[in-house]
C-alpha cells in the first residue's frame, strides 16, 4: 500500500493564479481531510469528507474548494492564490472518525 499520496511536493504560484493539490489514498478509508500548517504552528483543518460526494468545512475554508467524487481521491482547489495561502498542505485519511488519521507527505506552496 502506498498509503496517502500527495502531488506536487513543491509549488510556487503567482498571486491570482489557480491550482489543484492532489491527494489519493489506497486504504479504502471513508474519511479524508485537508490541513494547512504555517511555520512553527499546529495544523488547521481546511475541509474534510466523510465519503464520496460529502464534504464539509473545517476551521479555515476561505479561499479553498474541494470535491470528493471517489473514495480514493480528495483534491483541494485554490482559485485565486494569495500570499496568505503560503503554507504546507497535508492531506490525511482515516477509516472512521474516531480512529487515527494517516497523513500524506505534504505539499509546500509558496505564493508570491
Amino acid at each position: 500500500n502506498a498509503g496517502v499520496t500527495q502531488t506536487p511536493k513543491f509549488r510556487i504560484l503567482k498571486i491570482g493564479q489557480s491550482m489543484t493539490l492532489q491527494c489519493a489514498q489506497d486504504m479504502n478509508h471513508n474519511y479524508m481531510y485537508w490541513y494547512r500548517q504555517d511555520p512553527g504552528m499546529g495544523l488547521k483543518l481546511i475541509y474534510y469528507s466523510v465519503g464520496a460526494g460529502i464534504t464539509d468545512k473545517g476551521e479555515v475554508p476561505n479561499g479553498y474548494n474541494v470535491s470528493r467524487s471517489t473514495t480514493e481521491d480528495f483534491p483541494l482547489r485554490l482559485e485565486l492564490a494569495a500570499p496568505s495561502q503560503t503554507s504546507v498542505y497535508f492531506c490525511a485519511s482515516s477509516r472512521d472518525r474516531g480512529l487515527e488519521q494517516f497523513f500524506g507527505p505534504g505539499t509546500r506552496l509558496t505564493v508570491l
Partner: protein
C-alpha cells in the same frame, strides 16, 4: 470554540532524563491524539486515547488522558536523541473526526 494548548512549547533535555509534555483543552472531549513530526516531514501517529483514564505506552513514551481535567500528558522516560522531534496533541470535540491541534512541543534531546 475549542482551544488546545500545549506546555511547554520548547523543551531541551539531557539524554537519560524524564519529562512530561502537557496538553490542555477547553471543551469536553474523550478523544485525544498524539502525533510526532520530524523537521520537514509529515506527521506520524503515536497514540489514540478514546476514554477517560486511558493510558498507552510505546517504548519510552507514555500518554494518558483525564477527560474531567481536560488534560492529556505525554511522558518521556530516559530520553534518547532519537526522540528529538515536534510533538502535537489534537482533540476531536465533536466526534466528527475534525481535529483541533495544539501548537506543538519541540523536544531537543542532547547527548
Amino acid at each position: 470554540e475549542l482551544k488546545v494548548e500545549q506546555n511547554p512549547l520548547f523543551l531541551s533535555m539531557q539524554e537519560g532524563k524524564n519529562y512530561t509534555i502537557y496538553c490542555n483543552y477547553s471543551t469536553t472531549s474523550d478523544r485525544l491524539y498524539w502525533y510526532r513530526q520530524d523537521p520537514g516531514k509529515s506527521l506520524e501517529s503515536l497514540f489514540v486515547l478514546l476514554s477517560n483514564g486511558a493510558v498507552k505506552q510505546e517504548g519510552r513514551l507514555m500518554a494518558s488522558l483525564d477527560t474531567k481535567a481536560r488534560l492529556s500528558t505525554l511522558h518521556i522516560t530516559a530520553a534518547v536523541h532519537d526522540l528529538s522531534a515536534t510533538y502535537f496533541c489534537a482533540v476531536d470535540s465533536s466526534n466528527t473526526g475534525k481535529l483541533i491541534f495544539g501548537q506543538g512541543t519541540t523536544l531537543q534531546v542532547k547527548p
